[in-house]
């Protein structure tokens, strides 16, 4: 390289310079001013060696400047924050990682198409089921926060708003509005559930509530716990305040005994959760739930007309109990949960403890390119027609049932308008184009016991579709 440089030097600099030396001076006399100006100019190297040295210095200076620029860039990188955009969302992060802001979100654009709904016509519709921007991040290294509004259905609801201190893996403290630790499918993100809508057991566990929760993992997730105190919402409910002084206490323990060992049972998880509390309703706020079909049609509600004799209200202890578990192995997955919800109710002078029960079993099979998981499918090859890769396809099937306490009817609910049980079969097809995009197609047939003036309520047969984008 150096040799090449010397030859180039001779060709470009030395030879013309030598020719110039042969040229006679046209103006040998210099004025004093010109001499002074010349003295201010850099001295011209007289010999080839000096010129070579000068050029060598220039190259060294350029190299050193490049080196200094790189050092400055590296130094700046240490103190400058990072802005990233990826399939996991968009984020801003301080250089030390102690401060993070993430912009995430997801949208569910759904279609519901009812089949054979002659007796109980329902509207076939497209709907924005969920539109949820998510702002989450970290301040001072260990304090996380999350704010998630929902604009689905044209309404604005604050779903999550909490802060959480991560003091150790085994000790985290969360305060705000979030999902209480009851249920299994309820604790899955809406972006990860197997079907367009959750199964019946989710009707019996709280949706979101305000409270304080301690949680943590032991031994790398072999065991985990969560325990908290909450305002106490009705089954399936979500609220931003309380209507009485009493609180609910919720807890969950969950075990993945082989998660560190690995092997075929690595993704086996078993747990139990529940809540206890005392809830007193009023005529204005009875504190009791209504239950919905997968297509979000109400099939059960307590009697109410705003008067004490004909309005059922919560009137004492409420307990929930839910054994639960899942097992995933390669492309196959199985999820099951059972929930009971027992609530003391009163209508006028008549009081009763009512215990409703629900369960589900769901299985899935990832046909190509990905493993089944509680945390959704991450396709090994994303959808790219040019490369002839199509993402991952998944088949799913589910059975779920909700049974209401026999004592519910007729005192506390009207069997002519509320069903005493609902049983649903569903099959589904999911297409994961990539980690961010998913198409879902489900068919679900729900049959009822009661719920009609004569006989049983007409079966609900619904074709669901969903276009999901999540980042």
């Amino acid at each position: 390289m150096r040799t090449l440089f010397v030859w180039m030097f001779f060709a470009l600099v030395a030879l013309p310079a030598a020719k110039a030396q042969e040229t006679p001076q046209e103006a040998p006399q210099e004025t004093a001013q010109e001499a002074q100006e010349e003295a201010q100019e850099p001295a011209q190297p007289a010999t080839v060696e000096e010129r070579l040295d000068e050029l060598d210095q220039k190259i060294r200076v350029l190299d050193r400047k490049t080196e200094i620029d790189k050092e400055a860039a590296a130094e700046k990188a240490k103190t400058a924050g990072q802005a990233t955009a990826s399939k996991d969302g968009f984020s801003l992060k301080s250089a030390d990682g102690n401060f993070v802001l993430k912009l995430r979100g997801y949208t569910h654009f759904d279609g519901r198409f009812f089949q054979s709904d002659d007796q109980r016509p329902a509207t076939d519709t497209f709907t924005l089921r969920r539109v949820r921007p998510i702002f989450e991040g970290t301040v001072y290294k260990i304090f996380d926060f999350r704010i998630m509004p929902d604009f689905g259905g044209g309404q604005t609801v604050l779903q999550d708003a909490y802060i959480e201190g991560r003091f150790t893996p085994a000790f985290r403290v969360r305060a705000g509005k979030f999902k209480p630790p009851v249920g299994l499918e309820r604790l899955q993100s809406a972006t990860e559930i197997l079907f367009v809508e959750r199964a019946f057991p989710t009707n019996l566990v709280p949706n979101r509530d305000l409270g304080v929760q301690l949680s943590g993992d032991f031994n790398g997730g072999v065991a985990s716990y969560a325990v908290g105190v909450f305002n106490g919402v009705p089954d399936g409910g979500s609220a931003d305040g309380d209507t009485n002084d009493d609180k609910d206490y919720a807890a969950r323990v969950f075990f993945q005994p082989f998660v560190k060992v690995g092997g075929a049972l690595k993704n086996l998880g078993l747990g139990v959760s529940g809540s206890v509390g005392k809830q007193e309703g009023t005529l204005a706020a009875p504190g009791l739930p209504a239950f919905r079909t997968p297509a979000q049609q109400t099939f059960f509600s307590y009697r109410t007309d705003g008067t004490a004799p004909n309005t059922v209200i919560a009137d004492g202890d409420r307990t929930r109990f839910s054994p639960q578990g899942y097992f995933y192995s390669g492309p196959f997955g199985l999820l099951a949960e059972y929930v009971t919800s027992k609530q003391a109710v009163r209508r006028g002078a008549v009081s009763q403890d009512l215990e409703h029960k629900s369960w589900q079993v769901a299985g899935n099979w990832v046909l190509t390119g990905g493993d089944a998981s509680y945390r959704s499918v991450n396709p090994k090859k994303v959808f790219d027609p040019a490369a002839h890769t199509w993402g991952a396809f998944e088949l799913a099937a589910r059975y779920s049932k909700l049974e209401l306490d026999d004592e519910t009817f007729p005192t506390f609910a009207n069997l002519a308008s509320s069903a005493s049980a609902a049983e649903a079969w569903a099959v589904g097809f999911n297409w994961y184009l990539n980690k961010n995009l998913r198409l879902m197609f489900d068919y679900e047939d729900t049959s009822f016991e009661g719920g009609a003036t004569v006989g049983d309520r007409e079966d609900e047969k619904v074709l669901f579709s969903r276009f999901q984008i999540a980042f």
């Binding site: 100019e41 200076v61 200094i68």
Partner: protein, 332 residues
């Protein structure tokens, strides 16, 4: 009432933290003091332990003095600062991290050692550099760091300025032109003094390095081939007084105030002064200074207070945005 059980759990979790370990100090210093403080730290840890103190580990951070001060102001949790000039410590003090009277808390204006500015040239002094005038000659390549980021560079410029004032009978315009001609010969500005030493010594750039005296002696004795460099002492230079201070708020937060104070006081002990002299800083202790007198060239020195009225005035006039340095360098 039922939530009473939550509070003890919460308190238990919050209290559970790592147990107190050995004492750690962070010394945020300027560029060429790496070797000095490596030895000081070891000696101090031994002396502190011998006095019955804890095990002390002193971590070091080095860079251009101004940049280091900015890092401390911006959150670098230094227990002590040992910077190139008082102005940079004043800047940290202005942020509230150090008491305003920091300079009176230790002897000699909290400057346990001094230095000055000299020239480092290549073997045989091929460009015949003898004094500041020679740095203005066309064809002489001068290496000095960036005064915007380097304390040493600020001393360099002020030393040249002081010489210029003497040469031109305190004519600021002629002096500015003189200094401008020096900087016209500067092909590259490093962010710190050590970077300029690397440029001159390791990268082989330039004919003369304007350097801390300690850095120049260090280069002559320990860098490059033996005899590859030699020191030229100008006729006039500036007395550089690098100050030290405990960063009070951080030391209080770390519960290290006592050990941090002792660390700086150690610099004034005969052992600390001996270490400073071994690393070519001029010691304050007369006995130690006499012992090492031979290694320091005789130079006529002026102080920043005598010529510039102190660092605050000098900083504002020369190195603030739009100041003399900007006028000199932006015009090139």
């Amino acid at each position: 009432m039922r939530i009473r059980f939550v509070l003890p759990l919460l308190a238990l979790g919050l209290a559970a933290g790592p147990a107190a370990a050995q004492v750690k100090l962070l010394n945020v210093s300027y560029d060429p003091t790496r070797e000095l403080y490596q030895e000081v730290n070891t000696a101090f840890a031994k002396a502190w332990k011998a006095k019955g103190g804890q095990d002390v580990t002193v971590q070091q951070s080095h860079g251009g003095s101004g940049k280091q001060a900015r890092s401390v102001i911006d959150g670098l949790e230094a227990d002590v600062v040992t910077l190139a000039l008082a102005y940079d410590v004043d800047a940290v003090a202005a942020s509230g991290l150090i008491a305003k009277n920091w300079q009176t808390r230790l002897p000699n204006n909290s400057a346990p050692y001094t230095s000055t500015i000299v020239f480092l040239v290549r073997k045989g002094n091929p460009k015949k550099i003898k004094d500041w005038d020679d740095l203005t000659r066309p064809g002489v390549s001068v290496i000095t760091p960036n005064p915007k980021t380097s304390g040493g560079a600020r001393w360099n410029l002020l030393a040249a300025w002081g010489y210029g004032l003497r040469k031109f009978n305190n004519d600021p315009a002629k002096t500015q032109d003189f200094v401008k001609r020096i900087f016209k010969n500067v092909p590259i500005l490093d962010t710190g003094a050590r970077g300029s030493t690397v440029t001159f010594v390791e990268r082989g750039i330039g004919d003369v390095l304007i350097a801390w005296e300690n850095e120049a002696i260090f280069a002559v004795r320990e860098l490059g081939d033996k005899g590859a460099f030699q020191i030229v002492a100008p006729s006039v230079s500036i007395l550089a007084e690098p100050p030290v201070a405990v960063v009070d708020k951080i030391a209080a937060k770390h519960k290290t105030a006592a050990v941090a104070k002792a660390y700086l006081e150690f610099l004034y002990t005969p052992e600390g002064q001996e270490i400073a002299a071994k690393h070519y800083y001029r010691p304050r202790n007369e006995a130690v200074a006499a012992k090492y007198a031979q290694q320091f060239p005789k130079v006529s020195l002026f102080t920043i207070d005598q010529v510039f009225g102190g660092w605050t005035k000098a900083q504002k006039a020369f190195f603030a945005d739009g100041g003399v340095f900007d006028q000199i360098y932006a015009a090139q």
